[in-house]
Each structure stands twice: as C-alpha cells, then as structure tokens.
C-alpha cells in the first residue's frame, strides 16, 4: 500500500493555495477564531449586527461574542428577549432594510421555535421576490454532541436545514476554517446556517488571527462555501466527513495508516452547496468510501452523500459506500453518548467492510 502523507490538520494545504504562515508560537482556539471573525466583520462593515440570547454582557454561553458589546456598543451586539422565532423574524426585517444580522441560536435544539421563520421566510424570501429581496443573515448554531450536554443541548440538526432550498449550510472543522468560513458567511448575500461543532470550541491550532484577518480583508482567502477540502491524502479509501466528525475521521485514517492502509479524508466544510467534484474525484481515485457523521443516519446528509456518490461514481466503486452515523435515536444522555457517536473503531470497522480482496 502507498504511504500516506501525514499532514497535520492545521497545516494541510488549501486547494487554492495561500495558507498564511502563522507567527511562531501564535495559537488560537476555535472559539477565539469565531470571536475574532465576528469582531473583524463588524469592524469592516457597520451593517453587521450580532444579536441573540445572552450574547451581550455575558458574551454568549460559549463566549463566542465575548467583548463585542463593549467594543461595538449595545446597538451592534445586543441581547434580545428569550424568543427564537422573534430573533429570526426580526433578523428577516433587518436584512430587508439594509442590515447584515448575525444571530445566535443558543443551542441546536433550542433553535426549533425559529424553524418556521427559517423555512418559510429566510429560505424563501429571495425566491419569492425574484431576487429583489436578498437576506444576508447568518444563523450561528452551537451544534452537535460530544460535550456531555444534557437533553436538548446536543442535536445534529443539519439535515433539516440542508433539506431546505435557499439555505447555505456550513460546518467548519478547523480553527482556520472557523475564522474564514464565518467571515465568508457574513459576506454572503444568501442566508447561511453556520453550524459550530461545540466539542471543537476549545480545540487549538497554531494560527495567527491577525494574519487571517489580513488574508481575508485583502481577498486572498480561498473560497470555502461550496468547496470541500482534502484534509488528509490517501489512496485506498475515502472518508467523507464534516464538522465534529472530521477529527474523528482523521484519527481513524491515522490508525489505519499504522495498519498499512492509506485513507483519504475529505472535510466537506460546506454541506450546501455540496462539492460533488472534490468528493467524486477522490472516490473515483480510491474506489471505496465511508461517510462519517454524528446525526442519525436515516434520511440524513450522510444518506444524501451516499446516494450522490453511488450515482456518480458507480463504475469506480469496488464496494458499496457505507455510513458511520449516529443511531436513529434521540440524542443520548451524557453517560451514553460515547456509545452513539461515530468512533475511530467504528470507522475502522466500516473501512474493513469495504470488500477488500486479498
């Protein structure tokens, strides 16, 4: 088998090049990168507003909005009454009237009261008005599990949004992507559901946020909406993942390498629009694929990826495309979640099942 390229996730090359070199020793957490992206976007454009529950004085329950009210004032970053439909509906009106609202849904499973506004208006308004009303709204959602959260704090709700035409759905997996993708989301003329994997908030990378800012502001950051990236190169099989599952998939690929298997890992970054090209190029090359995602597998984003890959890569496939997903159960309680979440072992088992001859 071919030796894999051992590329640490922080240093992997972007397809379009131009990865800024970090200042020696500079590091940032995922959370801090999001905070910096918000601050930099608000600095760059006075139309950008941040609001939601506890995002003002407190700085958000995950501190993603820390310091924004102090820096930009209560008119730019503010707390709302505790009502998610209200937050979302007000964002629609603000966007209709020239603002670029970024709203925070405090937890994935607390976003559901806003669902009608998202589906019936955020997603449909541009189409309804034949493009006369664009809604540049970013819906930030602390997302998915792995943090020991009690009930209603850990849903993987991406399929609901991905199923709704008109929404862009993003899920970053690295600190660098967290920064660039949030900046790109805020700059997008279309509404974006921005899924922030909670368990990655405290992950760290060697990255210089000032350098990322310069890179984005000077237009040198490669586009990430609609662009998947090869997070680790390999030749024998492809793991397709996004958000919180990417580090797990990379862990599985590293373990597989020790057993002599060269596994490629794709970080989708953008669920909608979906990058068929990057995914299919990889799968046609490796001939085998496993989709890894935390959400329940039935009628999921993972299902859609499998369908797309089999429709497009059938003649290149040596085995059926498999899935490693959450079970079709409500998200488990803290002591049980590790049985539910895709693990390195479960991914390696799936890789083993890819009909290897000899």
């Amino acid at each position: 088998m071919t030796q894999t390229t051992e590329a640490p996730i922080a240093d992997r090359a972007d397809r379009a090049g131009s990865t800024p070199a970090p200042r020696a020793g500079a590091t940032s957490t995922f959370a801090k990168a999001l905070n910096a992206a918000l601050a930099d976007a608000m600095e760059a454009d006075p139309a950008v507003l941040m609001f939601g529950e506890d995002v003002g004085t407190l700085g958000g329950v995950f501190r993603i909005t820390d310091g924004l009210t102090a820096r930009f004032g209560e008119e730019r970053c503010f707390d709302t009454p505790l009502a998610e439909a209200g937050i979302m509906g007000m964002a629609v009106g603000m966007a209709m009237n020239g603002m670029k609202p970024v709203v925070e849904m405090q937890f994935d499973a607390f976003a559901y009261p806003a669902f009608e506004q998202v589906v019936s208006h955020v997603a449909k308004m541009p189409n309804r008005t034949r493009g006369k009303v664009r809604l540049p709204i970013v819906i930030r959602i602390p997302y998915a599990g792995g943090i020991g959260g009690v009930e209603h704090h850990c849903d993987s709700s991406e399929a609901y949004y991905a199923h709704t035409p008109g929404l862009t759905v993003l899920a970053p997996a690295t600190v660098r992507d967290a920064y660039f993708m949030l900046r790109e989301a805020i700059a997008s003329p279309d509404p974006v559901v921005f899924l922030e994997p909670k368990k990655l908030y405290w992950s760290k990378e060697e990255v210089d946020l000032a350098e990322l800012r310069r890179t984005f502001d000077e237009g040198e950051a490669p586009r990430r909406i609609g662009r998947a990236v090869v997070a680790r190169q390999g030749t024998d099989a492809t793991l397709i993942s996004y958000g919180p599952s990417v580090p797990t998939a990379l862990g599985a690929a590293a373990a597989a390498a020790e057993e002599g298997r060269s596994i490629e890992v794709i970080d989708l970054r953008s669920i909608v629009p979906f990058d068929d090209e990057t995914v299919c190029e990889s799968v046609r090359r490796t001939g085998r694929a496993v989709v890894v995602a935390e959400a329940p597998g039935f009628a999921s984003v993972a299902s859609e990826i499998v369908a797309r890959v089999q429709e497009r890569c059938f003649h290149s496939l040596a085995a059926p495309v498999l899935r490693v997903t959450g079970f079709d159960i409500p998200y488990p309680s803290p002591k049980l979640e590790h049985f539910y979440l895709p693990s390195v072992d479960r991914i390696l088992d799936a890789v083993d099942d890819l009909q290897w001859e000899d």
Binding site: G86, M90, G93, M94, H121, G226, R284, E311, C313
Partner: protein, 402 residues
C-alpha cells in the same frame, strides 16, 4: 396626516376606565371601552374628545379609494369564477381598514400586509397586476417590496409582524424616520409570532403600528374560540404598549386612530396596537363555504354597517360628495377593474428556467444540473426542432454513468 395626537401615550387614554388598583400609567395603555367611532352607520358625526374628525378633503380622497377597493374585490372574485385566478381572499366589507392602513403612511414608511390585504397594497400604489401575480399563480410574489415599501403579502400567520419589527429596528438604528404598519387578522393573534413581535417591538421601543382587522372569523373559527380577552386591543398592556379599539367600518375613525398611532411612533413614542372591529362579509376565499359555520342572518346584520354606505351618506350630507364626484370615483374604479380584467385575461408566459434562478444568488452545481435536466426534457417534448442553446453557466458535473 392626522392631527389627533399629542405625541405621547396620553393620546390613547382609555375612555371608560374602571379605575381600581391599576396605576394611572398602566390604565393609560388600556383601550377605550367602546371602539372609537367618528361617523356612525347612519352617516352622522359622532363627537370624540380624543380624535378630531379628519378634514373633508382627506375623507373625500380616501372615500374614492374605498370605492375603488370595493370594485377591486368584486372584480377579483369574478376573475376567480372565470378561472383567471387560482384564489382570492376578499376584503369585501373591510375596505375602510384597507384604505386607511395605506393612506396614513408616508413614502418613507413600510406596510406589511397579509394575503387578505390586496386592496391595501394596491392603495399604497403597487400595480394591481403585479399584486395579483401571487393569486394568479404565476409566481409566489409579483412586486418589488422596496419599490413602494410594501412587504410581500404574508400567507403564514403573524410571521410578518416580526419582519416589520426588524425593518423598524434597522431604521431606528440608522436614525431614519420610518414608521412600519403591520397588519394581521384576529386569528393571527393566537400565534406565537404575534406575541413575540409585540414584545420585541416594545422592548426595543421601535416605531411599529400593529393593526388587527378583527373580522370575527379565522376561516370558520369565531373569535370566541381564539381568545377570552376583553378585546384583542387589551393584549397591548401585557407588552407595555397602548392598545386602541376602533370601528373598522368607519373610515374617519380609522384615519384618525391609525394616523395618531403613526404620528406617535414617528415621534419616538414606540409601538402601539390597534384593533379594528369589522366583519368578513364573504367566505374566507372562493374555496370556502361560509354557510357551514354562520347564518345568512349573521352576515345580514352587518350590511347596514357597510363602510362605503356610511361615508357616502356623511359626505353627501355635507355636499363634499356630489353626483359628479361620485361618477368620477366610479369611473376611476371601473378603469382599475378594466385594467385588471385586461391584464388577467392576457396569458402570461411562465418560464420554467426561472425556477432555478433565485434560490441562491449564484446557482449551485446541483441546481445547474437540474436546470439542464428540465431544459433537456422540455427540448425533447418540443419535438424534433432544433435543440435550445446550452445554458451559459454550463451543465455541471457529468459523473461517470454509462
């Protein structure tokens, strides 16, 4: 437009306050015991200390819009019967609310209408044919909301009230004098978004006038099954804003009360809630059968309270409205109806390629593929003619299917 304001909450003092324990400031938020009425069903002026009668010119101009509104409703109903429109929720009998909601606003203001508020949208100046695009079935919306500052007609209930709050909030942040008038019906007051909108508007102290047309029915369900509140306007006090009740078939009272609320909002007085008491004279839409849930007698009782009848009587008695003036208004209404007829009797070519155009600012590769698929299907169906040109943005990933 209205002179009936002092810019403060005192402009909406409750009429017959029942006193008791509530502090005076809270009582000031309560609506009057009876709906404000300035011209009664017999066309007589009803004196009111709080709301002076709008001047004759204003009433006459608005009366002309009223006549046109009735004609638009009747014409649209006829066009549905003729199969030229998919459906029409008529505001027959509610035209005074429709006209007043539109004419109290200035050019810098925004109107947020519902599906039943077609006449309000047209009165605001939007081309009737563009308005009727939705109900004709050509597209889900036919006009540019920014052109006349009229939001798309909302079909989901009460969701638009929050959008109105957002528009007002954005305007306030920029220091613009915009006022937003947001319409809903009695049924919509049971929706969560209604409550969230009022609360957000009050907390952020934004210039929104919430205007409920209480026409007593949500399709078949009567008001008593929606709420046991003393009135819908009473809900305002729970959010710390003033509520007011107005005779929804009295054009003069509507102009005065809505005008005062708009002025108050523009002067920084914050939001308010106005409930107009009116009646849905016709079925919910042409697809509804109102005889299943109310009697002809119920409807009949509202005929003498018709908004056109009483305003006509009033204006004729004062010689503000003459035979000649009536003819002019009728001719104007006929001209609008004729334009609607002509427009809707002309087939509009729908373009299936447009289905994919506005989902995102830039088509995704998936939408490019699907657009191409539909284009090929249509080309095939069109027969042996020359194949249409390929779309400019290409066909996307071709895959490796055999």
């Amino acid at each position: 437009m209205s002179t009936a304001t002092n810019g403060g909450r005192g402009s909406m003092l409750g009429g017959a306050s029942d006193g008791g324990a509530a502090p005076a400031a809270d009582r000031a938020l309560l609506p009057s015991a009876e709906p404000v009425q300035l011209v009664d069903p017999d066309g007589q002026h009803n004196h009111d200390d709080r709301y002076p009668l709008p001047d004759g010119e204003q009433l006459l101009g608005a009366f002309g819009r009223l006549v046109a509104g009735r004609r638009i409703n009747d014409q649209a109903n006829a066009l549905v019967r003729q199969g030229r429109m998919a459906v029409y929720p008529s505001s027959h009998g509610q035209e005074a609310c429709q006209v007043a909601a539109a004419v109290v606003l200035g050019n810098e203001d925004w109107l947020f209408p519902t599906y039943r508020d077609t006449v309000a949208v047209i009165t605001r100046g939007v081309d009737p044919l563009q308005v009727l695009t939705l109900l004709r079935g050509d597209w889900h919306g036919g006009y540019d909301p920014h052109e006349h500052r009229v939001a798309t007609q909302a079909t989901p209930l009460a969701t638009q009230l929050l959008h109105a709050v957002g528009v007002a909030h954005a305007a306030k942040l920029r220091g613009e004098p915009t006022v937003v008038l947001a319409m809903c019906g009695d049924g919509a007051t049971s929706e969560g978004d209604f409550h969230e909108a009022l609360n957000f508007a009050a907390v952020f102290h934004v210039p929104v006038v919430f205007f409920i047309q209480n026409n007593e029915f949500a399709i078949s369900v009567p008001l008593k099954n929606q709420t046991v509140a003393p009135s819908l306007a009473h809900k305002a006090i729970g959010y710390g804003m003033p509520g007011e009740r107005v005779d929804g078939n009295d054009l003069a009272a509507l102009l005065a009360v809505l005008g005062a609320a708009v002025d108050r909002a523009r002067d920084g007085g914050g939001p308010s809630l106005i409930e107009a008491h009116t009646y849905r004279m016709q079925a919910h839409t042409n697809a509804d059968d109102a005889t299943r849930y109310r009697s002809a007698d119920d409807v009949e009782r509202w005929v003498p309270r018709d908004p056109i009848l009483r305003m006509r009587t009033y204006l004729r008695a004062l010689n503000l409205l003459t035979d000649e003036g009536e003819r002019a208004f009728a001719d104007e209404a006929d001209a609008i109806a004729a334009a609607i007829r002509k427009g809707l009797n002309t087939e509009v070519e729908v373009n299936p390629a447009e289905l994919f155009e506005y989902v995102y600012t830039e088509k995704t590769s998936q939408l490019r593929e699907q657009a191409e698929q539909l284009r090929e299907e249509l080309a095939r169906d069109a027969g042996a003619g020359a194949a249409p040109d390929a779309p400019a943005d290409g066909a996307g990933d071709e895959g490796d299917q055999p």
